[in-house]
């Protein structure tokens, strides 16, 4: 397995980024050409250290996949919103070296049959990482395309046996001013808290990510384990998770508490509902000069739109 023991991976074993991208392009064009899943499956052992790739990643790209060039590794890892390490985009890459990602545990509480403290090593062993290429749309109207490594959160949740009273899952980031110097300032209410409705949490697109570009997740991207919910604004995808709680009431999430008129619990990407301070109709894909149109649910409407049928998305923004 690729992710489990980072020190064991030699630099030479990691797929070169240029090669990696060209392989991705090859797969994508092959898939479009109709060779499809069969080839992806046979090609997969070749691609990188036996990581388990599934076709879901490519399918989920939908029709937009031709458009979605991967954002370079350099940009993905130096342009981050992670206020625990400072509020500048470049601050996390500079400051996140103080984060210790081992030992690391995720505590599970609340309405479930298997509460307890889970060791990251055990989680990684039990849920092998696969690659998912997702668009990431920030509420600040910029976006990236990132090849995550991770596993479906739903698989983990199923094993935790949530009860019928579990309507929501709440997530919590580490709170430790020694490791996260940005927490010395009260910019936000620490620790960072996020939440999902149960059906959102177990949706097959919802990911617990532990790596990107076939490498271990860099600290500034939310190591060692983070949420990725590609159809929601980036702030929903909480980083460096130490706690999960199954609850019956909608959790109070950090940004919604900080500015309730600007950030909602759902935070689904929606070009028709503007943030009070900027338009959400368009976005700048990093690396592109001109803005492009933002798609409803960040282009994943086909997969997740039904979760919200009958809901007034202007009210539940």
């Amino acid at each position: 397995m690729l992710i489990r023991r980072p020190p064991d991976i030699k630099e030479s074993e990691v797929t070169d980024e240029g090669l990696y991208i060209s392989r991705r392009r090859f797969i994508r064009s092959a898939a479009t050409a109709g060779v499809g899943i069969g080839l992806v499956a046979t090609a997969s052992p070749l691609l990188s250290c036996g990581s388990d790739r599934t076709a879901i990643a490519d399918d989920s790209m939908g029709e937009a996949s031709q458009d979605d060039e991967l954002t370079p590794y350099e940009d993905v890892t130096t342009y981050n919103n992670f206020y625990e390490f400072g509020t500048g985009k470049g601050d996390p890459a500079k400051n996140a070296h103080t984060l210790r990602t081992r030992p690391w545990t995720v505590s599970v509480e609340g309405e479930c049959g298997k509460p307890g403290v889970y060791d990251i090593e055990d989680i990684l062993r039990r849920y092998p990482a696969e690659e998912r290429i997702y668009r990431l749309r920030c509420v600040e109207a910029w976006s990236m395309v990132i090849p995550w490594m991770g596993f479906a959160l739903g698989d983990f949740i199923k094993d935790l046996e949530p009860t019928s009273r579990a309507k929501y899952v709440e997530f919590k980031t580490l709170h430790d001013v020694e490791q996260m110097p940005g927490q010395r300032r009260g910019v936000l209410d620490w620790p960072y808290v996020e939440g999902l409705r149960m059906d959102e949490a177990v949706h097959p697109l919802t990911l617990f990510a532990v790596g990107l570009y076939g490498k271990v997740l860099p600290n500034q991207n939310g190591a060692p384990i983070r949420l990725v919910v590609p159809w929601k604004y980036g702030f929903k995808s909480i980083k460096s998770i130490v706690g999960m709680r199954f609850v019956s009431e909608m959790p109070m999430t950090t940004w919604a508490v900080t500015a309730p008129s600007e950030y909602g619990f759902y935070a689904n990407v929606n070009p028709d509902v503007d943030h009070p301070r900027w338009s959400q109709a368009r976005e700048r894909r990093l690396g592109e000069l001109r803005r492009r149109a933002t798609l409803p649910f960040n282009g994943y409407a086909e997969q997740v739109g039904s979760l919200y049928s009958g809901m007034d998305l202007r009210r539940y923004f």
């Binding site: 940009d75 509020t87 985009k89 500015a259 301070r277 109709a281 700048r284 000069l289 803005r291």
Partner: protein, 221 residues
Amino acid sequence: MTKKSYQAGVRLSAFALALVPLAQTVVDAFTGGLGANPIEEITHRSGWWALAFLMLTLAVTPIRQITGIGWLIRLRRMLGLFAFFYASLHFAIYLGLDQFFAFDYILEDIAERPYITVGFAALLILIPLAVTSTKRMVKRLGGRRWSRLHKLVYLAAALGVLHFLWLVKADLREPAVFAAILTVLLGYRFIVDLRRRVRVRRKKSRSSAGPLEPATPASHR
């Protein structure tokens, strides 16, 4: 060195220094120093420098009055024009690079996003000030009218700081520093003005206390 050439030297160095942010940005643009989102970076930088030069411009009068270095006034126009220069650059980047001249979106931004509304207003206010910054315009308008017009710079600076404050999501530190500086600069003027008014009133009341006059004029019965 004569006094005159010393002052000219200071002015020339100030001019050169004022161009450093621009030069640095050009260098960064060619060496990848602008990061993953260069358009956002240069938008923020030009806006920051526009505000900084506005503050420097407003600092000239207090510094001059406190230190007694009168000739500093000769730096003021240049600093003010640099504020206008960086503000214009800021707007041009927004217009051309950020929005790609999509005027429907730009108009919507100006009308509906309060931080853009006030920022745009600040820029509009600076235009007549820049236009009337020449010696000839001072003469044409007359000193009194000219200086009354140029009091608008206080409003432009306040709107500029508000623009920054409303833009920021959670970390208010930097706009708060600008707001504090502006408060000091405007507060200084307010106090000076207040003291002057009090002095004038005292003088007036002293002079009116001169000759004794009856409260009601004597009438002949």
